[in-house]
Symmetry: C2
Subunit: 250 residues, 2 copies
Amino acid sequence: MNSKQTPKAQKTREHILETALGLFASQGYDETTMRDIAAAAGCSLGLAYRYFARKEEMVLELYEQCARELEEEVSKLPPGPLAGRFVSAIEADLRRISLYRTTMGALFSAGLAPNSEVAVLGDRVAGIRTRVWGIFRVVITGATDAPKPAQVTQLATLFYAVHLLIVLFWLQDRSPAQERTHELLKFGRETLGRLRPLLGLPPVAKPLARLAGIVGPMFGPVESAEDAGGGAAGEDENGSRGSVPIGAGG
Amino acid sequence: MNSKQTPKAQKTREHILETALGLFASQGYDETTMRDIAAAAGCSLGLAYRYFARKEEMVLELYEQCARELEEEVSKLPPGPLAGRFVSAIEADLRRISLYRTTMGALFSAGLAPNSEVAVLGDRVAGIRTRVWGIFRVVITGATDAPKPAQVTQLATLFYAVHLLIVLFWLQDRSPAQERTHELLKFGRETLGRLRPLLGLPPVAKPLARLAGIVGPMFGPVESAEDAGGGAAGEDENGSRGSVPIGAGG
DNA sequence: AGCTTTTAGTGAACATGTTCAACTTTTATT
DNA sequence: AATAAAAGTTGAACATGTTCACTAAAAGCT
């Protein structure tokens, strides 16, 4: 398992990770070589690779850390309208990762190549995805105008997807201080606020459910089989199953 | 300029490119090394680099080629409802790039790191973006239910953005034969068809215009300044200026 | 033709992510 | 303590994208 190593090893590992993240934050991801990390951590190149099979693996850890912190911050979010809570959560997330812009870029970058598991939608990240998805659940259920339970799961899935897109947008946003992203968020809040009353109406609810059914499985760990999303809106309370143990990093 | 080289050089260049694209298609992008390419093309490693400063640059050329072909195919699309034409264009695009899944993945992957110019949203691709954006203009104006001219530009920008997202989705889609993507397209067609009548109504048109104003500049070449998208919906007929000479590859 | 300049082409060398066989230290066992 | 097994650690070596000083061919000029 994971936490059953010698304390010494654990300490070494953490030391290397912290060193790496520090370098990532200060000089950027690409500019930080594994040799830099080893040197700064005062160990050999090989040792870094003992604890992190690939450079990206360190980013993964960062991602998890951010998710954990975000979880806490969101749990403290005051009740309020759904739109406001959603945007606040996103803003908190962006604030948190802003130190690691290029590093997160690497994560998403790797995520784009359908190969590496160390990617936003890769297998290795399944646990974190589940966790973040859960955060959006809290965002929704904690809203003063939360939709009825049957819709919560679907909405969480869609929020998760939108969240991903916004981070993508943010990564690309070259405007000063990423003001364009914040404009987008403002727009999102207003629009979502305006749309909120319609969420319960079938002409809106049904397409949303269908969309969640299509998009959700992309976030799932592997996929067993064929009930993916045949025809209409199957309200079977999933769409992005969370059956993966969260802290199950190998 | 570009086409002012010796015919011999031009030929060599094309030969290398074709060899490379062939290898990309048959064994994947990452699996094809520059040395492979040079060997298969019967030239030295250095020569390949003389014509293509980086490996990604070859992908760029592929992207441009696809854009050109798509342009032609779309121009032959029969008149019909907007939704159908849009989805048909996307499908044509996907069909075209399906041979080069991993290769396109590389393009988008690089595109995610905000560094490299050889990226979907990078400077080097500005010309191609403009071109593709133009394709969506044609998609719109050629529809039997085309919106009024003032909206065409905005809609083209949004279509371009959605197109990017769909390719992203497609790249990640691990379902057999990418059926999930096609489901998404079906959903998109139906939804867009249903929404089409509302496009002219201010409560819909205004937010769309605003969104286009926010998103559009991301696709622009560099950005001059500050009129990016201040407050309300500025219908100033742009949102994604196409003032870049299309074939201006340096 | 003989010279110069520009273009085409080469392959060794470098940087960096990654692997691996060997070495050292720690822990468990007798 | 002596020995064996496991865990920790090392640095050389490899693969691959990229660079560069250099050679070979071609074109231009007198």
